[in-house]
């Protein structure tokens, strides 16, 4: 059974943490992920730093710039994941942009990811139509998940189409926003989460964008199988030099 499938079958209130690879220091990725797992995080998203991350807000943009400056490469990210996999058994996803994958070589990228123990991908600018035409078969063949986003503007018909093509889970974008936009969750967002629940989709759902603390995480868990935190975690990492201490403090403040 896939790691993601196993996770959603056995666990509730899933916390998925986004980690920019190569940030704050080039080789911090492995200890950060190990510490996250030790403190009860259920899933990890490894961010592949990109020069022009269109869907990301200032915090993730900045961490990406620092990581690129530090010398992060896809080859190094694969090495780091390989190292992480020696001890970590929870699902690991890679999140990045399509251009990076094209330059690496798309087929080679997916095969390498599989080989080092990646479970799936979030590639926001790889559109559904291109996925269906070019990548669906190879990802199914490799037994890897491809996670699509759903936004408050996605129509019901399109949500069903996306649900049908997705595996792993659906990424519910909580509002009209890029990552890192922070405020409390409003009533209209709750209505939108509930509307999606009524569609009886086949995939589990994680809510992301704007989830930043215990309060917003708990709310998300009432309306979905869990949530994804990115910018708030990256900000916490930037605060001091005690890496493990900051990871532990952050996770404990949320769950």
């Amino acid at each position: 059974m896939k790691r993601t499938e196993e996770l959603f079958r056995t666990k509730k209130n899933i916390l998925n943490i986004y980690v920019t690879a190569g940030f704050p220091k080039l080789n911090d990725t492995v200890p950060i992920v190990q510490e996250l797992v030790k403190n009860g995080v259920s899933m990890i998203e490894i961010g592949m730093p990109f020069s022009d991350p269109l869907a990301d807000g200032p915090t993730i943009q900045h961490s990406s710039e620092v990581a690129i400056e530090n010398g992060i490469t896809l080859a190094l990210i694969f090495k780091q994941i390989e190292e992480i996999r020696k001890t970590v058994t929870i699902p690991i996803l890679m999140m990045g942009y399509y251009n990076q994958i094209l330059q690496y070589g798309d087929k080679a990228f997916f095969e390498k990811a599989k080989a080092v123990g990646v479970d799936g991908f979030i590639i926001p600018d790889l559109p559904l139509a291109i996925y269906q035409e070019k990548y669906k078969q190879i990802l199914q063949h490799l037994d890897l998940d491809f996670i699509f986003l759903i936004t408050p503007q996605t129509t019901d018909d399109r949500i069903r189409l996306i649900d049908n093509e997705s595996s792993g889970f659906l990424y519910i974008v909580s509002s009209f926003a890029i990552t890192g936009s922070k405020s409390d969750i409003q009533q209209n967002q709750l209505d939108y989460f509930e509307h999606i629940n009524k569609l009886n989709l086949k995939n589990p759902k994680l809510i992301g964008f704007g989830i930043s603390n215990k309060k917003t995480f708990d709310t998300a868990c009432k309306h979905a199988e869990g949530a994804i935190i990115g910018s708030a975690f990256i900000k916490a990492l930037s605060k001091n030099n005690d890496l493990e201490g900051s990871v532990k403090a952050f996770v404990q403040s949320v769950i």
């Binding site: 990109f50 020069s51 022009d52 269109l54 869907a55 807000g57 200032p58 943009q61 900045h62 710039e65 690129i68 490469t73 896809l74 942009y97 399509y98 251009n99 990076q100 994958i101 094209l102 330059q103 690496y104 926001p124 600018d125 790889l126 559109p127 291109i130 699509f148 986003l149 759903i150 936004t151 503007q153 996605t154 399109r158 996306i162 974008v173 009209f176 926003a177 890029i178 936009s181």
Partner: protein, 392 residues
């Protein structure tokens, strides 16, 4: 060969819409509506009237006698510099503002590099009474102070892009992020034939007025409705797309696209995308772009802010790959020389961007009986500081 792109916005293998789901609704809304709007009678009349009465079209196709003599051929200048606001950019902003109005949008956002597109956008927003926000790289805000002042006087808010290299590419990223955060009331008014489908096609259609006028002007002046060569500079590629448009399928016309070599392609300080770039995705479009082996988009360099973009529109990537377009570069120095040459021979101070197009007259062979059109995309007022420094 089809050079105008298919329904999904693909020019051969280039183009398309590589956008996050958060932009699917916005771009789809535009895709579903733009052709119907721009083909409607109401739109056509309003567009035509504004281009005539407000922009000052048609622009002359001027036979440059002394320049022709110097190069021993027949050179015509398509005078886009005589448009209101001083460049071809306004052909596009007039068209898109009418589309935005038809779609009921209240808030207009745009990106700008040199500030020419920002000024043209702020201008049409003032004309229509719409809110205008222009994203501009922090570095460019410092380099292009007069255009920043013009935009502000026109009532626009200029927001600095402080990410990445703080130039045009980053201003475009910020505009796209704004659009993601404000998908309902906001219209993104892109300044060139770049970005996700349907922008490259829509902008090319609005700029195609340039070659449409050339058809009848050349007929009248030369007895033939086509020239032997058309030369235009390429930043994103909108003035070139407009100048080539009605001649894309006429293979008797040689289409010459001029990129900014900067300090020279070999130095790495360049914006000559087709020479140093490779295939990939930038701003939602599959095209040629400048990048490293990791797919990180690299910084271009040119003395001309309007050509300082690390990609080209998908139409141009297709023209390059198929060989339909001939791509030539001009360095900073060659462009400066050409600007001074035109000024002294014809009494026209060109924009630095347009000067790159003029510079290739030295690099190509023209026969005495040939007719060459150079698209003079803009005037040089905005570049006076650079020209003054050069005179000192």
């Amino acid at each position: 060969m089809n050079y105008k792109g298919n329904e999904q916005g693909f020019y051969g293998e280039f183009g398309g819409a590589f956008i996050p789901e958060m932009l699917y609704h916005n771009t789809n809304e535009l895709k579903e509506n733009y052709l119907q709007i721009i083909n409607s009678k109401v739109f056509k009349k309003e567009f035509k009237d504004l281009l005539k009465e407000y922009v000052g079209r048609p622009t002359p196709l001027y036979y440059a006698k002394r320049l022709s003599k110097k190069y021993n051929t027949n050179i015509f200048l398509k005078r886009e510099d005589l448009n209101h606001t001083g460049a071809h950019k306004i052909n596009n902003t007039i068209g898109q503002i009418l589309v935005a109005k038809q779609m009921g949008k209240q808030r207009i956002i745009a990106e700008t590099g040199a500030g020419q597109h920002g000024v043209a956008t702020a201008t049409v927003c003032a004309l229509m009474g719409l809110e205008c926000i222009v994203y501009m790289g922090e570095v460019d805000i410092k380099r292009q102070a007069p255009n920043v002042a013009r935009m502000k006087m026109l009532g626009a808010e200029v927001r600095p892009a402080i990410s990445g290299s703080k130039t045009l590419k980053d201003a475009t990223n910020e505009a796209i992020r704004d659009w993601i955060a404000n998908p309902v009331d906001t219209y993104y008014l892109i300044g060139s034939v770049v970005g996700p489908h349907p922008y490259p096609d829509m902008v090319a259609r609005f700029q195609s007025i340039i070659s449409k006028e050339m058809l009848s002007q050349l007929q009248e002046k030369t007895g033939r409705d086509y020239p032997d060569k058309i030369i235009a500079c390429v930043g994103g590629g909108s003035n070139a797309a407009g100048a080539f448009y009605h001649y894309l399928d006429n293979t008797k016309v040689e289409l010459i696209a001029v990129e900014a070599d900067g300090l020279g392609v070999a130095t790495g300080k360049t914006a000559a995308t087709t020479q140093v770039g490779s295939e990939g995705i930038i701003h939602g479009s599959k095209t040629l772009l400048m990048q490293n082996s990791e797919g990180q988009i690299t910084e271009p360099y040119s003395i001309s802010a309007g050509l300082d973009y690390p990609g080209v529109g998908p139409l141009h990537a297709h023209l390059f790959k198929t060989g339909r377009g001939k791509f030539i570069g001009a360095t900073d120095k060659e462009a400066l020389d050409a600007a001074f040459e035109l000024t002294l021979l014809e009494g026209i101070i060109p924009a630095l961007e347009s000067a790159h197009a003029l510079a290739v007259l030295k690099k190509i062979t023209c026969k005495p009986d040939e007719n060459i059109v150079v698209n003079l995309s803009g005037r040089g007022d905005k570049d006076m500081e650079t020209y003054i420094n050069r005179m000192d």
